[in-house]
């Protein structure tokens, strides 16, 4: 082959919707993957200038420092209510919440149930890593039975603390929910599927079909006490059996377009 026939093509570079800053997330934490995918989707949809994000309380409390668009900081659990206020008075904007398992399924349970119930036209990205990260490793509503955390040092005892909450299963019961899916960030193939789901979840909002949520099974190497690569395997071995991946609700208007 001659050199004239070969060109160096840029295949992948960092998305524009991510600010050019170092993040505070632990090395190997899949929050970073989720942020990157959201930024890629926003770039590809060309919606950066009309997007407003709502950050939670948790490890991603500073998410607004990492994305290059308008952002609000909510009180713990209240992001869906804040997003409702923003979206109702700015119906032409794209409004999303980004929430962890404590934010969404513990203190924010009422707020997330009611945005799904109302069919609020917003998108929620739910980072489920079965533990409380920011406060250094306590039990979350999604912590698995037997899982050791700082508030369940002998392992989660269902007799005392009850059972994990499966949010996709719960929210998909709501008529107002248009797109409720669970994906995982534990390997490249699943990360690609997760990105498709995120794209779909934002399209659902753009088409005004109702509430969309993508639950992303994520790792917390630091508080699980294992290295980053092992943490990804832990998702596959332990979390997926408890939180099966799949599409829990898909609005008929997009049903044909939805791939895996």
């Amino acid at each position: 082959m001659t050199t004239a026939a070969m060109a160096e093509t840029l295949i992948y570079s960092r998305p524009e919707a991510l600010r050019p800053v170092h993040t505070h997330y632990c090395p190997g934490c899949t929050h970073g993957v989720a942020h990157r995918l959201i930024a890629e989707v926003i770039d590809e949809m060309g919606i950066r200038e009309m997007t407003i994000g709502v950050a939670p309380v948790g490890c991603s409390v500073f998410a607004y420092n990492y994305f290059d668009f308008d952002f609000a900081e909510a009180a713990h659990g209240r992001a869906p209510a804040m997003a409702t206020g923003i979206k109702r008075v700015s119906p032409g904007k794209i409004v999303f919440t980004y929430q962890g398992d404590g934010d969404l399924a513990a203190i924010g349970m009422s707020e997330i149930m009611h945005v799904a119930g109302r069919g609020e036209n917003i998108t929620t990205i739910f980072i489920n890593n079965a533990i409380y990260g920011m406060t250094s490793g306590q039990m979350a509503p999604t912590t698995l039975p037997g899982q050791k955390t700082t508030s369940t040092p002998l392992g989660r005892d269902v007799e005392v603390h009850g059972f994990p909450l499966k949010m996709c299963e719960i929210l998909s019961q709501m008529e107002g929910a248009a797109y409720i899916v669970r994906r995982s960030l534990h390997d490249p193939a699943n990360i690609r599927k997760a990105k498709k789901a995120l794209r779909q979840a934002f399209e659902v909002q753009r088409q005004g079909l109702g509430f969309a949520m993508v639950e992303l099974l994520s790792s917390c190497p630091t508080n699980w006490g294992i290295p980053a690569e092992a943490a990804l395997h832990w998702i596959e071995e332990h979390m997926i059996p408890a939180y099966p991946l799949g599409d829990y609700k898909v609005h008929p208007a997009i049903a044909e377009k939805v791939g895996g």
Binding site: R48, M50, A75, R78
Partner: protein, 362 residues
């Protein structure tokens, strides 16, 4: 405009509509639910936003979101519901977005009852939520004043980028009186929303609205900004009304409905030759300390009348600085003091009789 017979709750809701309120988020709670019901009908009629939230916690956070998006937004509630809003109010204050809240106070503490009370004075006037901030707090005594203060509240909230609380009580919410509605103001256009608002980062740098300042150095700087704002509010927004104080030997200090009741008692006392007058603070924050201080140099004694166990009385004592005796009379739990009881207190103060420790005297 002609006077109409208006119920307090409906009146303040309609006054907000006329002031250009673009969104209302609330939750039913007696004795102010009529306001939510009025908004439920009026706002969609005018193409504006109404939503009944799932709780007061959700309602105040919806208000927070809409305020971040740069619209004129309000909520209303009553004492137990306002307690649920305290977290949201602290976040709103820490984000400097303008919000209007109407608190129609009822008997407490706890679930209490639905009768009128002034038991939220400390909660609202001293901030309520955690941290160093104070909302502007205005206390109407008539339906007309409730209308006028609500109508001004949105401009005031935007002028200072703060919370404005209209502190009413259950009787004012439920009473029907002749009053005039102000004219309808146009709603602000979307393109005229403030430059700091979250409207989508089109042709500008992104806006971030947050109340976190993780570095204590920055947090203190921000708190100093809030302090300076409060100093400007204190310099400019004191409001009060007076009656018969020019030659008064006794000053009654009372706000809201208590002020109105005191008025009747004062007129009766004057007929008995007692030189008594009324100072009725309308702004509870900023409190008219200077006026109270002035009065304490002229009068022989002060009677504070409240529908609580003694909350505003502390602010009065602070301004009086021990110059003259301050006597407190209050009824609690939704009991409304009658003019006769207040007249007895005025007579007792006049005769320098010691307070009787029953009812609500302190």
């Amino acid at each position: 405009m002609a006077k109409e017979l208006l119920e307090g709750n409906v009146a303040f809701a309609e006054a907000a509509v006329r002031a250009g309120c673009e969104a209302y988020f609330g939750y039913p709670i007696t004795p102010q639910t009529e306001a939510l019901e009025h908004m439920a009908r009026r706002m969609p009629e005018l193409g504006r936003v109404f939503l009944q939230a799932e709780s007061e916690v959700a309602a105040v956070n919806m208000v927070y979101g809409a305020a971040c998006a740069g619209v004129r937004v309000m909520t209303s509630s009553s004492s137990p519901g306002v307690s649920l809003m305290m977290e949201g109010l602290s976040y709103i204050a820490g984000s400097e977005v303008p919000v209007v809240l109407v608190d129609v106070m009822r008997g407490g503490p706890g679930l209490g009852n639905i009768a009128p009370s002034q038991g939220d004075y400390n909660q609202m006037v001293k901030g309520g939520g955690h941290g160093d901030y104070r909302p502007i707090v205005l206390a109407p005594a008539t339906v007309q004043e409730l209308i006028d203060l609500t109508y001004q509240a949105f401009d005031l909230a935007e002028k200072y980028r703060c919370i404005v609380v209209i502190l009413a009580d259950g009787s004012l919410g439920q009473i029907m009186e002749p009053a005039e509605m102000p004219p309808m103001r146009p709603v602000r256009k979307a393109e005229d929303r403030p430059a700091w608002a979250l409207t989508g980062a089109h042709a500008r740098k992104p806006n971030i609205i947050s109340s976190i300042y993780i570095d204590p150095v920055e947090e203190e700087k921000f708190n100093l900004v809030l302090m300076q704002k409060m100093a400007r509010i204190e310099a400019n927004e004191v409001r009060y009304k007076e009656l018969l104080l020019e030659d008064a030997e006794i000053a009654v200090v009372a706000f809201g409905t208590a002020g109105r009741i005191a008025q009747s008692a004062i007129k009766a006392a004057r007929e008995e030759g007692i030189k008594v007058g009324l100072l009725r603070p309308v702004s509870l924050y900023p409190y008219p300390y200077e006026r109270v201080r002035e009065l304490s140099r002229k009068v022989k004694s002060i009677l504070v009348l409240e529908m609580n166990g003694g909350q505003m009385v502390d602010d009065v004592k602070m301004a009086v600085e021990g110059r003259v005796p301050v006597r407190f009379y209050g009824r609690m739990g939704g009991m409304v003091p009658l003019p006769d009881e207040v007249l007895d207190e005025i007579r007792a103060l006049h005769a320098q009789r010691a307070p009787v420790p029953t009812g609500g005297a302190r």
